[in-house]
Amino acid sequence: MNIIVLLKQVVDVELNIRVKDGELNEEGLNYVISSWDETAIEAALQFKEALDGDGEVTLISIGPERAEKSLRKGLAIGADKAIHILDSAFDGSDSFAYAKGLSKILKQQGPYDVILAGKQAQDTDAGLTASMLAEFLDLPQVTNISQADKVEANQLTLQRKGDHGNEVIELSLPAVITVSDSFAEPRLASLRAIMQAKKKPLATFSLADLDIDPNLIGDAGSKTTVERWSEPEARQAGEKFEGDEVETAKQVLDLLVNETKIFATLSN
């Protein structure tokens, strides 16, 4: 099974993110693989293992130079090869433009059986690119999968988290699949794997290497634009009570009763 995993390097959102003058302040920030994409790598490895290791897992990332570090990490986790699309022509792309660009790239790569991605990127949380890509490639899709019940060379039985429960879907390949964080914990890269990853193939392509009309990507190819960023109103921490739980529980309940109307209706 040949599997493509879409990988996005994002700002580490666990850190303190500040906005200055409507722009994200990237000073002192760290960059990591978007966590759902790590889960996607894990899913790819599990699918490959389910078929006795037959096939290849290829990572693809569109990003600046620093994205190479994340691709190496993905190789260390277990992917076989990586492709880094490095060209400023992609700057300013929204999900639509990324998906369009990827569709052109993937038509030139391949063949592939599965395209895997995280359900959304940890920076934008938009959740658009993979499904738009599926449409541009005319592939069926299953998003937000929480488990794979059956893995065969040309068909998968998957469960996705739907609104009313888990939807069980039989998916014919080739197809696009996105993963939910509930699918699996991504495996860790051992030190040995990190060393070996340095020797795994990582190819870098610029626009000149690819047959893509620059008007389809970047700002020109985008349908939406980010006008500005802002910080939400921060919640202030309230009162903290420590000590004997019998006391503190009663104290807090007392305060709640006097504070919120909900508790007033309880005494009816």
Binding site: A126, G127, T143, K223, T224, E227, A237, T248, T260, F263
Partner: protein, 326 residues
């Protein structure tokens, strides 16, 4: 005049409240809105849509439409969108909406903005949406005229009051059933025993996290939720461990809730969880770890053992409910 096409979602025999919120918003903003209604035995719901102001209702009704299917729904939205000149398609950012929005947008060569929590309607229409696990707000706009696809978070708009409802019957246009794309076959639904009270609509939510240590902890807290008439939710860790069903998960990738009161028992407060409940009016956190991030957002924090706190709360609340019984 701006014409909007709204996808109405159903649950059982009812239109889901978030869909009515969208329709209500269109009515209040004086926008012409037509509605696409898909499902099995949903025709009667047209009345609710009519009273909330739907112009035309496109109906696709068939047993095979009972469960969501990406390509079938995409084809139906595409079909409906061609019936008139629509400038926007509105959906709810439900799991269905999250799957369908990008597919429709790409199908119609349109931009999409998801999970919208507000907007500015000046010279430009600018949507606000949370990003980076709600640590920042993105302000986005569509670049050119042409189809625009937008998904809104549930609870952003208010439904119409009963006094605002109209006594009318919208025109119903039946859509042809698209051919099923057999590359993805929906075999069925593994229904989860969710709580009786919908997390997304409850006034009070009681949530448990890893601190509950297991099913015994869950069953300790559950009676408190029942006593309060609260919805019972959980952190992702609890759901992934199988202690509670996945549809109880509160969080960025689960249910996003904004009740009046949110109790967090044994929940540390990972950013993905906070992103799912930070909009709650009053947050009460109970955790053994005084450094737990949840305390940064809690209005009231109890640093302590939930196994000791919960029984006290249950007893005291029972006293409040039944002063004569004590």
């Amino acid at each position: 005049m701006t014409k909007i096409l709204i996808l109405a979602e159903v649950k059982g025999a009812e239109i889901k409240k978030p869909s009515l919120e969208l329709l209500s918003q269109a009515k209040r903003a004086n926008l012409e809105a037509d509605v696409l209604l898909i499902g099995n035995r949903v025709r009667e719901q047209a009345n609710t849509l009519s009273s909330h102001g739907a112009g035309v209702i496109y109906l696709a009704e068939d047993p095979s439409l009972e469960l969501y299917h990406t390509l079938t729904y995409t084809a139906l939205v595409e079909d409906a969108s061609h019936q008139n000149q629509y400038s926007q398609i509105w959906l709810t950012a439900s799991e269905l909406g999250r799957d369908l929005t990008p597919r429709i947008a790409a199908r119609l060569d349109a931009g999409a903005i998801t999970d919208v929590t507000g907007f500015e309607d000046g010279d430009k229409w600018i949507a606000q949406r949370p990003a980076m696990s709600s640590k920042v707000i993105q302000h986005c706009s569509f670049k050119q005229q042409g189809m625009q696809v937008i998904s809104f978070r549930a609870g952003v708009f208010e439904t119409l009051a009963d006094s605002e409802l109209e006594n009318r019957t919208a025109e119903i246009k039946e859509l042809a059933l698209p051919k099923t794309d057999l590359r993805a076959i929906v075999k069925g639904l593994v229904k989860e025993s969710g709580g009786a009270i919908d997390l997304a609509e409850a006034n009070i939510v009681v949530s448990v996290g890893r601190g509950a240590s297991g099913p015994e902890g869950i069953e300790l807290v559950r009676p408190l939720a029942d006593l309060l008439g609260a919805a019972f939710g959980a952190s992702r860790a609890v759901c992934d461990a199988g202690w509670m069903p996945h549809n109880c998960q509160v969080g960025q990738t689960g249910k996003v809730v904004a009740p009046d009161v949110y109790f967090a028992f044994g929940i540390s407060g990972a950013i993905q969880h906070l992103a799912g409940m930070n909009g709650s009016k009053t947050i009460i956190a109970i955790n053994q770890d005084t450094e737990a991030p949840i305390f940064k957002v809690a209005d009231y924090g109890i640093v302590g053992d939930l196994f000791k706190v919960v029984p006290v709360l249950i007893e005291e609340i029972k006293k409040i409910k039944n002063p004569s019984a004590t």
